[in-house]
Symmetry: C2
Subunit: 475 residues, 2 copies
């Protein structure tokens, strides 16, 4: 997984650090291309490439005939607040409603700012095509035959290697391949609890997790989140004293919908806190490769000494959603998860597993991620800028450092569902806050998918949305 | 789906009919090739091809320097008896044991007469390879992107067409694509019952169904089966009076393990009997394309007027087990099944769905089936002959008219599990009767997969098994 960094990337990183440290502040003009090339003794082309990289990442902006300027940090004054929630385990009844909304978001004539699958454009189609052609040509016997196994060995080998690099001590035999991350979460939930049991989750949280909890007949206990650090450990501690919690299920990295990234020390503390009471933690880590700056926060699994962390991830947000390849490191629950996997569908298809394995092994994954996260950062930045510009005073927005989800907290009273209903009629899909909690505390919020098709005119779309917001606020 | 039949096939069918009608009886010599060619005014090559076809189907045998003779029907005197069972709903605890056995069957150095997936050899690798290469080349965008749908439209269209031809009035919108048939059965079971409920199944029955029932916390009520007609409707009628049965789940066509084919009038009566009490029927129809004579018995679904039949099938036994493509026509339970499908894994991968759709549409499926079923019939016949020859007096064997599963009922007292343990040590995998019932009534039986690799020396393998059987009987 070692990669040689190009010179332009080194220069981009240096400039990024100078901006972070305040050497160049928002609004400042950067030195000219010629100056940068001279002082660093590098070519003009390299400087240009580095500045393009910074532009893609939303850190600087080119002004015609003038030069490159440091961007204003978006939403600095509009940071989210930690919500205060009454914590009571609740039966969930969100699915039917959610399902209707998703089907409308998925219509072909709609600008999808709703469902958080990246548009096909961002996926490495050409490379996957080459890999698939080779697999089909040389390994068709493997494609047609099924085996009673935890998944393709080659895929589990490369995943184990990557997880080791992320700080998790495990090997291929600790992994089970699934048909996507949602299947993984479902299997883990079935392995650790039974109908009627309470599972603690983030609030606002991932709608799919609410739906899974509903489909299994469990109860959800919503734990408040810090606006940048994710799950409030203090609130969880309190909840653990009050309630009989069978498991905790969270998205520590670029959470859905808040986009928070739980600090590594919190992860460690969370794992220890739960280990002390032998409570399993289901960790949904499917976005951790999508940090805008290429960093990777250690997953909770890295701190798991008792095998109580059930780690789930997938290639659906990073490589191809349509291939439905996910994986689980279920720790001490391996046997239970394997059992439920077998009686869900025996195993994942071979062709998709081999394709993902070959792609991860090809060395092209890192390059793809650099391209992809740069575009995601750019998309996110454009959304943030447009919202700043067009949405009403008092709007707060999240500032994720990775992933593709933006959270917009509108001035109350406001009804996210009404905005959904208006917007979908005009061909724009969003997710109303109603789908992110059973507490009704986030009904005034909306969730946006920034990884929409790059052909979408973001400014115009947000301007249209803002107009609807204003109409609703004035009615 | 219209196919032009070759001349040699017509001749083979005519000769088959003459044998069936008794014009040529077991042991009779057929007219010589020259005679057949002259009387029918066809070429010698065509007659030879027709006789080869009959030989493949196990109907005639070539004797060197003599000619073709009509085979003895196998096991005529050894027909199975309808077992008498106490019918009481039971909690199931079979999985751990079954799982251990399956993993041993799946080992690479073992002759697999256990797991009933056909060996890769029988699957149409070359055609699938061509189709896959084209899909990869021309439709990669569809491969990488996911949609919230009931499955690929093209696949559902062609499946609906085939089901219409089989007598089921339904269209593409009535179908949900699954990751294999077992997933389909699991989704249907979840849709019609809840933990603690009783589901009536065949006895002996399909081990996967027992395991599913166990994994869902349901109870199984085992209904006795007739040796050729399958589920005893009289016994089911009695059970319906006695117990609160939430659903019936059976394999009417080439059942597992008995290989029975429920007569069409029984299917009609079964559907009507259950409809009168509004009890859903889960129909596992995955082997119905594998009749040795190319016939197709109408599925129960064809008689379903109230939407109470949940029809499940897959391409895993007919086209490729490793692609994990199945489908459900859930009738009135569409909404529930769709709900559980979404929260199992959203949807099946696109590439495998498109490949199966293209194959079914190519017109090459019928040709493949003719090839495949001829080979299956031949394999089955060889197994039956070898068992007749080497197994002890008193052995009874099934005589399925399709599929790949053979059932061997050994003279009691005998322990199928002990035979498994001996055989696996010598590299031969079988399924002991213990996995086909929770009543212990079939512990003396074994189940064999006849679709093993064609390189397996059947006579020698059965001779080895027979030796172990005799040793066990004499101890």
């Amino acid at each position: 997984m070692v990669e040689i960094m190009n010179l332009y990337q080194q220069v981009a990183d240096e400039l990024r650090d100078l901006i972070k440290q305040g050497t160049y502040r928002p609004g400042d003009k950067l030195p000219s291309i010629r100056q940068l090339a001279t002082t660093r003794k590098i070519s003009i082309a390299t400087v240009q490439r580095a500045l393009e990289e910074l532009e893609l990442r939303g850190l600087v902006e080119a002004k015609p005939k003038s030069g490159f300027y440091v961007n204003m940090p978006v939403g600095e004054a509009k940071i989210l607040k930690t919500p205060i929630l009454p914590m009571v385990p609740k039966s969930i009844k969100i699915h039917e409603f959610a399902s209707q909304i998703f089907h409308q978001c998925d219509a072909s004539n709609v600008i999808n700012l709703g469902i958080t699958y990246p548009a096909a454009h961002y996926f490495p189609e050409k490379i996957l095509q080459q890999i698939a052609a080779k697999v089909v040509k040389t390994r068709i016997a493997e494609v047609v035959e099924v085996h009673f196994s935890a998944g393709n060995q080659e895929l589990r080998d490369v995943l184990a290697k990557r997880l080791n690099e992320a700080g998790c001590l495990l090997n291929a035999d600790d992994l089970i391949v699934t048909n996507g991350c949602l299947e993984g979460l479902a299997l883990c939930l079935r392995a650790v609890a039974k109908p009627g049991d309470t599972v603690a989750i983030e609030s606002p949280g991932f709608v799919g997790l609410f739906q899974l909890i509903e489909s299994l007949g469990y109860k959800a206990l919503e734990i408040p989140c810090h606006p940048t650090d994710g799950l409030s450990l203090e609130a969880l501690e309190l909840a653990l004293e009050q309630w009989n919690i069978k498991a905790v299920a969270i998205v520590p990295t670029f959470s859905n919908p808040l986009g928070t990234n739980m600090p590594v020390e919190n992860r460690k503390r969370l794992v220890e806190m739960l280990a002390a009471q032998s409570i399993p933690l289901i960790e949904d880590d499917l976005l951790s490769d999508l940090a805008f700056d290429g960093s990777r926060t250690k997953p909770c699994k890295a701190f798991d000494k008792k095998g109580l962390v059930l780690y789930c991830s997938s290639a659906s947000k990073t490589i191809a959603s349509g291939m439905r390849v996910g994986w689980i490191a279920p720790g001490a629950f391996y046997k239970e998860v394997s059992y439920f996997k077998t009686f869900t569908n025996i195993s994942a298809p071979n062709i998709t597993q081999i394709m993902i394995a070959e792609f991860l092994k090809s060395g092209k994954y890192e390059r793809h991620l650099r391209y992809f996260t740069a575009r995601l950062a750019q998309q996110m930045y454009r959304f943030q800028q447009a919202i700043e510009k067009y949405f009403p005073q008092g709007t707060r927005i999240s500032r994720p450092k990775g992933g593709c989800i933006l959270w917009v907290d509108l001035p109350q009273p406001f009804d996210g569902l009404k905005l959904f209903e208006h917007a979908i009629k005009k061909g724009i899909a969003i997710i109303p806050g109603q789908l992110t909690s059973a507490t009704n505390k986030f009904n005034h919020c909306i969730r946006l998918n920034c990884a929409c098709d790059p052909e979408v005119d973001i400014e115009k779309t947000i301007q249209n949305l803002a107009q609807m917001v204003n109409e609703l606020l004035n009615n």
